[in-house]
């Protein structure tokens, strides 16, 4: 341990975005010849911290030492020249160029792709990659693209390598391959940081674990000396009591029945695999999971926006009659008399039109009403005024474009519109993301009112404390599969946390 040299030392590094503190006085050492797993919940500041090393952000305060010398990193270029390379979650590659062309992009000197290809092969042989330098990016699978990103970093001579959730897009086999490569690189003396949520990966790969929570550094320990339970506890911290109201469900009856649902996204990657569950009326079904585990696809499939490979989604009305929702678009679903409301994650890109005013946004759901070719703005305007009054939306007027409202007010407008149609099913995705405390409680209240009115609510959330307090039952997703369904009243945060990181939680082994 004491033989190890620190490749990177962060001292009191702080970064704020407006009023939000992403990182607060973080101290962290990264050693050569070691794989460090950086752990933390969504929004705990892991990526921000690493972006300061890779030159995307500039710290507000604090010092960065590279190999013992204090350095200033202003741009990705500076980072490269210091030997730091980062593989981002969203790849920065030009699709129509080959692997080799992407790898040498932005470098200086004469272009010699043959020599570059030779060096790429050399790097690949050394660490056990497989990359065809002449292959175009658009022909590649996600894992191959990721390999290109890693080679790109190594090609520039990086010996400090940061990977941001590299396994999120990989199959288990690809993950194992990547891990072998990373182990080879560690043995070669490189310093490696891997950001992840997945406990079993931390256990199988890393030498040391560092944990961030709400932007602060909690601590680090050797992987060998710790357990998954301990790491989870450090990550989630002590439960916070939020005192969100949770009325008992009244007469819950199955409303939405999802059976064996499998969904592939546009790139052909499986996002949901054999998912089955039931959402009941008068009940809030929370959905927990690491971001990107299929939550978006699940809600969009129910809402008629996402085609599925196999499976079925049945809507069961009050008389017990079943209708299939899968394969129908939102208009057809509405035509069946199913009032389904959906508060999507992308509020201004999907749920609302940013450049339109409140009235016109209220009209999105109702503009088809009436037999004339003209729209009726009276009812939407009335609705907009009511939403502004009832939900205390802060806006100059109902004629203000919604993009000019603050995040909380935008969400109130969206939720207000969606519940105005007296739905029987309400789907919400990250309903309180980015909202202040007061707005959050307004949204919780609105959702609870819907529950009391007998609506089947599906609540996708990221904050476990909130999920545990608002949900009657919680469905936990892990990598597109159902990890389990637990009772929101009796379960605890750590159990859910474990289930999020591996299917079935701690009890089952892989």
């Amino acid at each position: 341990m004491d033989k190890k040299q620190a490749a990177v030392s962060l001292r009191n590094v702080t970064k704020t975005f407006g009023k939000v503190t992403a990182n607060s006085k973080v101290n962290l050492d990264i050693y050569k010849g070691e794989i460090l797993a950086l752990l933390g919940e969504n929004g705990s500041g892991k990526t921000t911290l690493m972006n300061m090393l890779s030159g995307i952000y500039f710290p507000d305060e604090g010092q960065i030492f590279i190999n013992g010398r204090e350095e200033v990193i202003r741009s990705p270029r500076d980072a490269y020249s210091l030997g730091i390379g980062m593989v981002h979650q969203h790849f920065k590659l030009v699709d129509v160029l080959t692997a080799a062309e992407n790898i040498v992009l932005g470098m200086e000197g004469a272009l010699n792709l043959k020599a570059a290809s030779a060096r790429i092969r050399e790097i690949c042989d050394r660490y056990g990659f497989e990359v065809d330098p002449g292959r175009k990016i658009y022909d590649m699978s996600v894992s191959e693209k990721q390999t290109v990103e890693i080679v790109k970093v190594l090609y520039r001579g990086a010996d400090i390598l940061i990977l941001d959730e590299p396994t999120a897009v990989l199959t288990p086999q690809e993950t194992e391959k990547l891990f072998n490569v990373l182990r080879n690189m560690r043995d070669d003396g490189k310093a490696i940081v891997i950001i992840t949520h997945k406990m079993h990966e931390v256990e199988s790969l890393s030498d040391r674990v560092a944990v961030l929570r709400r932007g602060e550094y909690v601590g680090d320990m050797l992987t060998a000396d710790t357990t998954a339970q301990e790491m989870t506890d450090m990550m989630v911290g002590h439960s916070v009591t939020l005192n969100i109201e949770r009325p008992d469900p009244v007469n819950p009856k199955p409303r939405i029945e999802v059976k064996n649902l499998t969904v592939r996204n546009a790139e052909g990657i499986i996002k949901l695999e054999d998912v089955s569950f039931t959402a009941n009326s008068g009940e809030i079904l929370g959905i927990a999971g690491i971001s990107g585990c299929g939550q978006k696809e699940l809600l969009e499939a129910i809402a008629g926006l996402q085609p599925a490979e196999t499976g079925s989604i049945s809507y069961i009305d009050d008389n017990g009659e079943r209708d299939e929702l899968l394969g129908k678009d939102p208009l057809k679903i509405a035509g069946m008399g199913v009032t389904l409301s959906f508060v999507p994650e992308d509020r201004l890109g999907m749920g609302l039109v940013g450049n339109m005013d409140l009235t016109d946004n209220m009209m999105l759901r109702s503009f088809r009403r009436g037999r004339t070719v003209f729209t009726d703005r009276k009812a939407p305007k009335h609705l907009a005024e009511n939403v502004v009054k009832d939900l205390e939306v802060v806006t100059p007027s109902v004629a203000t474009p919604v993009r000019r409202l603050s995040g909380g007010n935008v969400q109130k407008v969206l939720v207000g519109r969606e519940i105005a149609s007296a739905p029987t099913v309400l789907l919400t995705a990250y309903a309180v993301r980015g909202l202040d405390i007061n707005s959050s409680y307004t949204i919780y209240d609105l959702i609870n009112q819907q529950k009391k009115a007998g609506v089947a609510v599906v609540f996708v959330g990221e904050d476990l404390d909130v999920l545990l307090e608002i949900s009657d039952r919680i469905l936990v997703l892990c990598g597109g599969r159902v990890s389990g369904v637990v009772d929101g009243r009796t379960t605890d945060k750590n159990t859910v946390g474990m289930m999020m990181t591996r299917v079935g939680g701690g009890k089952l082994s892989e």
Partner: protein, 331 residues
């Protein structure tokens, strides 16, 4: 039967302005700028050269001595300067001020064509000189001087009978193709047009690439106008004679799927199609079919455009960020 030995040189003569225009536009589009102002730029390139040469020829008439080098250099530099300024204007508006590229391009075409026709029609009046028309025959002899005379054999007629700007066009097209495909500058240019965000993250100066590519593209396109008036039209300027060749050059960009080397053949092919009607015997009763033949290049281009979008093969698509302005803070 078409007399190929007579036909090919004329097709090449028609094709060269298109080749200049399309090579210039390909370079511009590779940087992500859809410059619909190319037709205007080609007019400006032509008239700038005409203005320069007009005053030089006048000074010779008034007792100056004829200098062969200046005969070529003056119109050439004037033409390059004129089209460079157009490129600079377009870049300033679309890159620095992030204006809509379609609107800016169309405004440039309106302005450029008007500029060409205005000075072409009013140069004599403005300069107050007493000449009947703009006929730069002296300059033209320099521009159209070829390797062989009229008595050349078929080989000479097909390959050696053109002025230097024709050969320059082919050299520029090949050089552009090589630069785009094989050099680092070309690689960076392609990256800028495909994904300015990625290029920016890789440390490439997106703004500089867009400016340089657009200005260089305009200068090359402008030479097409100069070739047309000095060589093809024998130094005689007549308004609107250049016609819609600028738009045809833009069509060629799609037709050649953004490859200047392909454009050499495609331009000559289009040039041939442009004058094919003169060689296809339609009889005196059916002159109208000639107009249908003139339609062929546009239909073919439309078909190519549709087929490439149908097949959705990535190499054959327009640069991904074509027509969009780049603003770093908007991701």
């Amino acid at each position: 039967m078409i007399d190929l030995v007579a036909f090919i040189p004329r097709a090449v003569g028609q094709g060269i302005p298109l080749l200049y225009g399309s090579t210039g536009e390909i370079i511009t589009q590779k940087s992500g700028n859809l410059n619909l102002g190319i037709p205007g730029v080609m007019y400006v390139g032509a008239i700038s050269g005409v203005i320069g040469s007009f005053f030089y020829e006048q000074s010779i008439k008034n007792g100056g001595t004829e200098n062969g080098f200046l005969m070529i250099a003056i119109p050439l530099l004037c033409s390059l300067l004129g089209s460079f300024l157009m490129g600079l204007l377009y870049s300033f508006l679309t890159v620095t001020l992030r204006a809509n590229q379609n609107v800016t391009g169309l405004a440039m075409t309106t302005f450029g064509v008007g500029f060409g026709n205005f000075f072409g029609g009013s140069l004599i009046k403005i300069s107050g000189l007493d000449v009947p028309s703009i006929a730069l025959s002296k300059t033209s002899t320099y521009f159209s001087k070829s390797f062989v005379g009229t008595d050349a054999g078929w080989f000479g007629k097909i390959f050696l009978s053109y002025g230097f700007l024709a050969y320059a066009a082919i050299i520029i097209a090949i050089a552009s193709a090589l630069i785009i495909k094989r050099t680092r500058v070309g690689l960076h240019l392609r990256a800028v047009g495909e994904s300015p965000t990625t290029a920016d993250a890789a440390g490439i100066n997106v703004t500089r690439y867009k400016y340089v590519a657009t200005c260089a593209g305009c200068m090359i396109a402008g030479l097409g106008g100069l070739y047309y008036v000095m060589d093809y039209a024998c130094g005689v300027w007549s308004n609107d004679a250049f016609g819609d060749r600028g738009w045809l050059a833009i069509a060629l960009v799609i037709f050649t799927i953004w490859r200047p080397d392909m454009s050499i053949f495609a331009s000559i092919l289009f040039g041939g199609l442009y004058i094919l009607y003169l060689y296809i015997p339609t009889g005196m009763d059916h002159m109208e079919y000639k107009e249908i033949y003139k339609m062929i290049p546009y239909i073919v281009t439309l078909v190519v455009l549709v087929i490439t979008s149908m097949r959705n093969k990535r190499e054959n698509q327009p640069p991904a960020s074509l027509g969009l302005s780049y603003f770093r803070e908007e991701r």
